[in-house]
Amino acid sequence: MTAPRRLAFVSATAGSAVGGAEMALRELAAGLAGRGWSVDLLTSCAEDIYTWRNVTAPGVTAEGDLTVRRFPAEGLTQPERDRYGARILAGETLNLPEQYRWVNSGMRVPALFDYVADHAGEYRAIVCGPYMFWMSLALADLAPERTILMPCLHDEPFARLEVYRYQMSKVAGLWFLSEPEQALAESLGIRGRRAVVVGSAVSPPPAPDPAGFRARHGIGGPFVLFAGRREWGKGWPQLLDDLAFASEVVPDPLPLVTCGVGEVGAIPAPARVIDVGLVSEADRVSAQAAAAACIQPSAMESFSRTVLESMQVGTPVIANDASAVVRWHCRRSGAGVTYANRYEFAESLRLLQEEPGLFEEMGRAGPAYVEHDFRWPAVVDRAERALEEWR
């Protein structure tokens, strides 16, 4: 029997490590729990989105206001998934069985599936995301009438697959993180049975300690920062490529400091990159505050927490113009500039060096922008309103 104020949030990881979508789900879940909802976070025992290795014991734990139920992840080897993935990325049309083969050849959480199959009726709504998470697709068949999907959509070939169009049309509703994400969905012909921009947010940062960050990592002069996953999908190899070009054409450009997970890989000469590895949240915030600018090279963002995290500490952003939502953030806030090609990237770095005052002035526009539009209480308000209206 459905409890009137009981919710499930279904996420690939518990959201305490890397992964913007997972963090956003967890924070929203916590926000609703803080308002008196009974919220279960249903997730896997994995934390590492590369290996999906189970690192936490399965079972139920109370974590703050949340009840976290963990289930073992399976299907940890991915060669077949990658082969199908390559075909999708190459623009090949996979038939429906092949699409399902692809979906099912990656990480799966069968015990979570069984749990939801047995208990879905106990929840007023089941919120899941992002759209490519295996369980998000499974829920479209398991409990479509109560599933709310946060797609975390970006413009990529996977978003055009028939399986996901089916998923997004079948679930009870879609919660988008931003207007550009909703616009993208509509441009793809995805409207959902119901849809609303619930948004997302970042929490106020701990007090940054830029001097401490510099001292801890031995970083003296000004630098630009990339904080995030050093991986293909986040534009890391492209950033290195662009940085190498910029380093050829801009005399002695600022070095790039990077923190986060993923292999840094070979640094193409003459780019200067300083890797400080995976750091604590406090250290990351300090790095963002210490940076002359933060770089967001990803073309595939549905919200971009890192951009907002930089803005909220007053650091300007230099971001890939190919990401609609990041472009949207930069234009609305006045706290960032986007680059559409390597030349603009290089010239952004040059101008940053020549006229740091201009960038500092841009950066000062950031905190108010974040404070006004991207704090959790407003997001939780919108989520609660949707939950009430969609009953």
């Binding site: 082969r83 990325l89 534009g235 073309a299 190919a322 006045g334 201009l358």
Partner: protein, 442 residues
């Protein structure tokens, strides 16, 4: 001394052919008995197929009878392309010539010092092996010499820096005034000359844009040459040059073949030769300019700076090119357009400034680069491979079907297995290195 020269040879519109011709003349002047073998019918004594094993073995056999063998090496002469299958097909012949051709000296005009990608990983050791075979390697600059030893492992003692112009002879005796009269050029203006095949890497567009930053009618730029091979890229480049010329009447494009004599007349007519190359190892044009004591403005690429050490100005960017041309011609420089946008908020000033400057940067680096395209993740995601081809598995359960399949496999496997291996080898190459054609420097 009997010298065999292995090279393209005139009549041919080709810099190497001209180079070889002058070298042959110089050697003959030194008293050598020079025989030339070219890759196609020419003024050379004989010709052989340079892209077949049989042809190069015949060249090697002839070479062994010479006291000295000079091979002009440019990849396009010996390889139909750098795609791995083509490279492997042509490699044995080149190796045979270098290895068994007797006292072979190779003049390296364009050498793949760095060769990337997975196919590059196959080619690189083969290049290293190849370049260690000749008795001597001749390069044009110290920079190339360093590459030859460090990247290709040729012992330093075997690499000699050749004076690019050591065999160059004057091909005209006209005065500047006469040259200008013949070419229809105003006698009183400062003439900047960019001459050679019209290709993006020559950077003649840089010279045109730089000239447009100079004030007054006392300067002009003549871009002289033709498209070597009509390709979409080369055609687009010619259109770009024509477009630039249409915007500044002081820029003149002479898109036509020029004879050797006319080539030198242009140099004599010029006040300054401008070679703002994007990439090159060495320049015959610079040598010819030096032959006539014409100052040269070059970019700092390859061995150019070293090549023009005494009689040249080396620039590193568009601003320096403008400055050098202004200084040499005495023209004033028009106001800079890279200043930070005035007025507005910081964001309103930063973005347009970045865009405007980026456009200038794109023009300097790669004017044909489609800068409008979005920056998407580079290449393919890691660990992504298409399925390799495999023969269908034979079931292990005993039975008539399994037995029949085994018999069929026995009868056909010896034919099918090599095909599968070959297809998979091609697949590996195609997957890992699409479109591996290097631009040529003619």
């Amino acid at each position: 001394m009997k010298v065999l020269l292995v090279s393209p040879y005139p009549p041919l519109r080709d810099g190497l052919a001209n180079y070889a011709m002058q070298m042959a003349a110089g050697l003959r002047a030194d008293g050598d008995d020079v025989e030339v073998v070219s890759p196609q019918p020419s003024a050379a004594g004989s010709h052989e197929q340079f892209m077949t094993l049989r042809g190069l073995l015949r060249v090697a056999r002839r070479a062994r009878r010479a006291d000295r063998v000079v091979v002009q090496f440019h990849p396009e002469i010996f390889f139909r392309g750098m795609r791995l299958d083509l490279f492997l097909r042509h490699y044995p012949g080149v190796f045979a010539l270098f290895r068994w051709g007797g006292a072979v000296e190779v003049i390296a005009h364009e050498t793949p010092y760095s060769d990337g990608g997975r196919a590059g990983a196959v080619r690189t050791p083969l290049w290293r092996l190849l370049w260690r075979q000749p008795a001597g390697v001749l390069v044009h600059t110290e920079a190339e010499r360093a590459q030859m030893t460090s990247r290709l492992g040729v012992p330093a003692g075997r690499v000699r820096v050749l004076d690019h112009g050591e065999r160059f002879q004057r091909r005209t005796g006209v005065s500047r005034g006469e040259a200008r009269r013949r070419l229809g050029v105003d006698p009183d203006v400062h003439v900047f000359l960019a001459i050679g095949f019209l290709q993006p890497h020559k950077g003649f567009d840089r010279a045109a844009r730089a000239l447009s930053r100079l004030a007054g009618d006392g300067v002009r730029l003549d871009i002289v040459g033709e498209i070597r091979i009509s390709t979409p890229e080369h055609d687009a480049y010619l259109h770009l040059l024509q477009d630039l010329a249409s915007r500044d009447r002081r820029v003149h494009i002479h898109d036509a073949y020029v004879s050797d004599e006319e080539f030198d007349e242009w140099i004599v007519a010029a006040d300054t030769v401008v070679l703002p190359y994007r990439e090159i190892w060495s320049s015959g044009v610079a040598e010819r300019a030096e032959l006539y004591d014409r100052p040269v403005v070059v970019t700092d690429v390859g061995g150019l700076a070293e090549q023009v050490a005494a009689g040249g100005v080396v620039v590193h960017d568009a601003a320096q090119l403008v400055e050098a041309m202004a200084k040499l011609s005495g023209a004033e420089v028009l106001p800079e357009t890279t200043d930070t946008e005035p007025g507005g908020t910081a964001a309103e000033r930063v973005a347009p400034t970045v865009r405007r400057r980026a456009e200038l940067l794109r023009q300097w680096h790669d004017p044909l680069d489609d800068a409008a395209r979005p920056i998407l993740p580079l290449g393919r995601p890691p660990d992504v491979r298409a399925d390799p081809l495999a023969l269908p598995p034979i079931p292990t359960e005993p039975g008539v079907k399994t037995f029949a399949l085994r018999v069929v496999r026995k009868l056909t496997g010896w034919q099918l297995a090599p095909i599968v291996r070959y297809v998979n080898a091609l697949r590996a190459v195609v997957l890992d290195e699409p479109g591996d054609e290097r631009p040529s420097d003619g």
